[in-house]
Amino acid sequence: MLYHFGTRNLSFLKSPTLLRVLETLAGQPTARAACAAAGVAESELASYGRALATLAGSQMIVPDAQRRTAPTVSVPAFRRIAGADTVPAGRRPNGKLTDMFETGLTSPICLTWELTYACNLACVHCLSSSGRRDPRELTTAECQAVIDTLQRMQVFYVNIGGGEPTVRPDFWELVDYATAHQVGVKFSTNGIKLDGAAARKLAASDYIDVQVSLDGATAEVNDAVRGLGSYETAIRAMANLAQAGFRGFKVSVVVTRHNVSQLDAFKQLADDNGAQLRLTRLRPSGRGADVWPELHPTAGQQRELYDWLAAHGEQVLTGDSFFHLSPYGKPLPGLNMCGAGRVVCLIDPVGDVYACPFAIHENFLAGNVRRPGGFETVWRESPLFADLREPQTGGACRSCGSFDSCRGGCMAAKFFTGLPLDGPDPECVQGHGEAALAVIQPGDARPPRPGVDHSHRRVPVTIGRRPPQRACDENPLAGLAAHEGLPRTTSF
């Protein structure tokens, strides 16, 4: 498999001979010569030529002259060939990509790595219930050892999150370490540390991508969920990235009941900053479990969202997270499958490995990177992951005509709303989820609670305007203004 960091395109080479052609290309005067050297028969040249054209079209291969003249650090691409044993033994290489993904790979394609639970914000829907740093957090050396493992396993990239990852003092050191070890980095941030200097550093690298989180196209909508001043912080960070010349960074939006009507405004905001809009699904995970009933889009809004996504196609990224909406019509761009424990997973700040970042609960805990064998052993030998890679039964959904397009939806969304894992998604567009939730009786077992909680102890986390953590968060003259007759709007 090849992954292009710039285009986010994944190419699956189904012939060992084609791989040999690619390995030979750089040392041959022509592609025809490379084919001959790799043992391609004359009768197969046309097929291999078309395959190479496909790879050229997606920029996986480039003209030789371009390679020779390209500066070493400014090529907008990241190409790698994943592990020698990417496909488990016994699997034929000419199966479909999604079929192979569903039964798992011997290395993840990418993974989410939450570096810290520490966060300057207290978003009401935080997936990891972040706020306070966990004293057991992986050390710098331990993080570097994890990166070494990921390099050895040839994981394409990590999505770094938290918490707010940039508040870790060694954040930039770890980012540099990862990219120096051929592990690409995409990280999510609220923008608190993205000043001009940081933006210029990021703009100078082709192997780092940034997602600035924003959950409202206006301060009123955003700050009600993410906290006072967070809109201004994100907008400033975006401006810094744009001014530094960072093209194509992501504006990452969790779609809620309160911001569905702002999709066009989000798109415009991203366009204005030379960025790309990325919409993701609200999950009832972490603190999100508490606000799910109030924030998850209504059935009508889900239809509105699907139509909007369908109209915008690949202009708008989704993290492949809305495949539960596909039964509305044409499948949305992406693989339309759950990758948990099969091709992705989560490493949390203390080294625990979960099936996915939306499922932080002991039921989805596969192991810990600190144990003997580290991450590699967890990924390859965890009984939980082995189970997730088994063919899924689909349960009650199997008989539904939409099952092939929604695959039963999101495992975590079902789990944290108290629905069975082989049942419908709580936002099933056919209404089966609502029906299943309706029959849960008040006396029945309560839905499982998220496994960890690092929320700030003294900050109430509620939707809407919250009391400031410190009086000076709202007024720089707090404690003085009332007594000295100074205007409340004065600032320094």
């Binding site: 054209a53 390679r67 000419n94 993701t280």
Partner: protein, 57 residues
Amino acid sequence: MALGAVTMAPSAITQEVLVNEPVAVVPTAADHDEAEPLATDELLVEEVSIDGMCGVY
């Protein structure tokens, strides 16, 4: 497409990966029946645009 001069990996990082790392991706020739004709291009390469996978944010 004419079979012209094309190559991979223009950057220092990827060059290092491609040159220095073992890159036998899919099962070895022993696992694959080389005599079996590849009837369609779909059998040679499959591409998909991914924005993370579902399970990554």
